[in-house]
Symmetry: C2
């Protein structure tokens, strides 16, 4: 047996695992300190009552012979797939076949596993910085990577790849920079994919955070996108399902990949938890929608407060609008990890070092707006006081 | 973009999807007929009260701020991993580190995904017949396959591979034949793996069905196995979790693969549903154990009844002891699919055609013992009468 040596060139630990380990080490050494977690993009508000009730009912179904069910369809129950189309796509004027919608236990798995559909020689273009799973899973598969830098200079809007990219990961609204693309800008990417016979893997995990009119919620709002795009969505950030585990992926038949994905899922996946699918279904009821919209509004306000607070403290910040993430330049040209360590040790605030999302993320950190409001406000206060007390590092207020 | 052409040599549909589609077609055309499902290995008894209560409590945890939780560790909660060790391995005298146990949403996913840890040039030895996901996922990865025939002649006990196999899938008790290996027989496979620097992926999904003393419940009962074996287990068949979705995989550090699997899971998996992990935890409580043992006893008795009934009708059957599957020779040398169609059309009984598990399965079908008792008994009656009424096909009673 020989190991897959593609793993050898990866950083030892996945970014968010590294942060979790550093956080628990710190907690061990400082058991009295309360850490404020603005690192991982994990929600903090409890699930709305309508969703909780649906989950209880689903659990009860499993308690009695006449309502018990075992394996569901690998691609998810028809009622949920139809509800996804009716609630998420039909209102946008997008027409999908029910067989093009695949329910899964989360967008994270699909984003990595989709790579299996393509020839191992195919190259992949990845925004730099971006969610590290695109890069890491592509490296595990031994793919050639084409990085697309997103910097202050280009407003975090990447240029089209200069060389032919076979696969393109796009995440909009972007994690970590919070960038969105207008309709005309995104159309250029679809056109590129059509011209170059590329496939776009479109990560729309944050579409619920879009506030502006001219920003597409789905890539299928663009002409020709059903020929060249797979769209991955999650209930995690929209409905707070990080513990529940449910997402979905749209693979249009026009891509020529729908049957392959069905084959892959039937072979390597045994369907999504029944309780999770019932929970997802409840997000489309009037009471469910009210509940998750209230939570979304809370996170959106928190994002604005964090962005505003950091700006007031003299930081250069991006995002926070149309996205739950604040992309923040480190003070005094500190490295991402130095600023991460400073915030952890001096302020007991967890962020995510920008360089973990790619080399162009060096000199930035990401704050997440998914914490409880009081914690975010407390974090801002600590950051303010942390700098007052440690004169060695402070924001460059001349900027 | 180029598709992964390894998919082109696969059968169009995954075996169990094909069966599900044929069954629903039949139901559409014959809405008044009641199908008796003895095809897919899916449980039918409701979950025991202790597990249902634990799931309700877990749902309640997600309803309130002070108990809410989001993402869990990608490898599963420590309390569940420790409970797995304490309840499943320590009693067998097996010592494992908690970091060697990985909770997942199901054995099916792990069995396929583990392939990613190995060089794509590595060959894979697969029992013929066996659970089709081993073969199909290996074909998707473009691996060279070494089939290991299991026939009446060798008592369904395969010979060791004659050529060097890098990866070996073993499922014991076997799906579909019901075969088990004694301690000394299994030790030969471990020794082979040590000698040939192979890795054994040991599918122990059916270990709860073992009744005999000399049959190992875990491959780690054998000397040296922690160097060469990964063990995959499921709560689906032991605790009826086919809708709940929870399993686990043990990757010993001695294999040199534990850190790689952690890296893979952190990158492409966001952890198992909290509700499912709480449900799994409840299987280790006294009340949970009583409940699942009662269900297991029921399925075991059903297996004996089916095996006995088919034998009385003149069929040549294997399995049904130490396993929930009955491996049945078709009458009059019918092909597997012909007998499948006969049982579906004449008896409204669903089985699984043996050839779907591999070429050596031709001329067999698999019956599953997971149905309700009355359905299994009714199926036996229908099979008896089906032959009486259709003289063209009948079991070869001279055997």
């Amino acid at each position: 047996m020989n190991r897959n040596t593609n793993f050898d060139i990866l950083p030892d630990r996945y970014l968010f695992k590294e942060i979790a380990i550093r956080a628990s080490l710190y907690k061990e050494q400082h058991p009295d300190q309360r850490l404020l977690r603005m690192g991982v993009g994990d929600v903090s508000l409890p699930l709305p009552p309508a969703i909780i009730e649906a989950m209880h009912r689903a659990v009860e179904d499993l308690a009695y012979s006449n309502t018990f069910r075992g394996y569901g369809p690998e691609e998810g129950y028809e009622w949920l797939r139809q509800a996804v189309i009716d609630n998420e796509y039909t209102p946008l004027g997008i027409s999908l076949d029910i067989d093009e919608v695949f329910i899964s236990e989360g967008a994270g798995s699909d984003l990595g596993n989709l790579s299996e559909l393509f020839d191992s020689k195919n190259s992949v273009a990845i925004l730099d910085p971006s969610y590290p799973a695109y890069m890491d899973s592509s490296m595990m598969a031994g793919r050639k990577i084409i990085p697309l830098p997103c910097t202050i200079e280009n407003g975090f809007v990447p240029d089209l790849p200069r060389q032919k990219a076979d696969i393109i990961y796009l995440c909009l609204p972007n994690n970590p920079t919070g960038t969105v693309l207008r309709r005309a800008e995104l159309q250029r990417w679809v056109d590129y994919a059509i011209d170059n016979h590329s496939i776009i893997i479109f990560d729309a995990a944050y579409e619920a955070y879009i506030e502006e009119d001219d920003v597409p919620h789905s890539i299928y709002e663009l002409d020709g996108a059903q020929k060249v795009a797979i769209e991955v969505r999650s209930f995690s950030k929209s409905a707070g399902f990080t513990a529940v585990r449910c997402g979905y992926t749209v693979v249009p038949k026009e891509t020529g990949l729908q049957a392959m994905w069905m084959r892959r899922q039937c072979t390597k996946y045994n369907g999504t938890s029944y309780v999770a699918q019932r929970a997802a279904m409840a997000t489309f009821t009037p009471a469910g929608k009210r509940g998750i919209n209230a939570n979304l509004a809370y996170y959106k306000r928190t994002a604005l407060i964090i962005a505003g607070g950091l700006t007031a403290l003299g930081y250069e910040v991006y995002g926070g609008e149309n996205a739950p993430y604040i992309w923040c330049k480190t003070p005094d040209n500190m490295t991402s990890w130095d600023f991460f360590d400073f915030l952890l040790n001096e302020c007991q605030v967890l962020c995510t070092p920008g360089v973990g999302f790619g080399p162009s993320g060096e000199g930035f950190v990401r704050f997440s707006a998914f914490s409880q409001r009081e914690d975010s406000e407390e974090a801002l206060l600590r950051i303010k006081n942390g700098f007052r007390e440690t004169l060695c590092v402070r924001p460059n207020l001349s900027r």
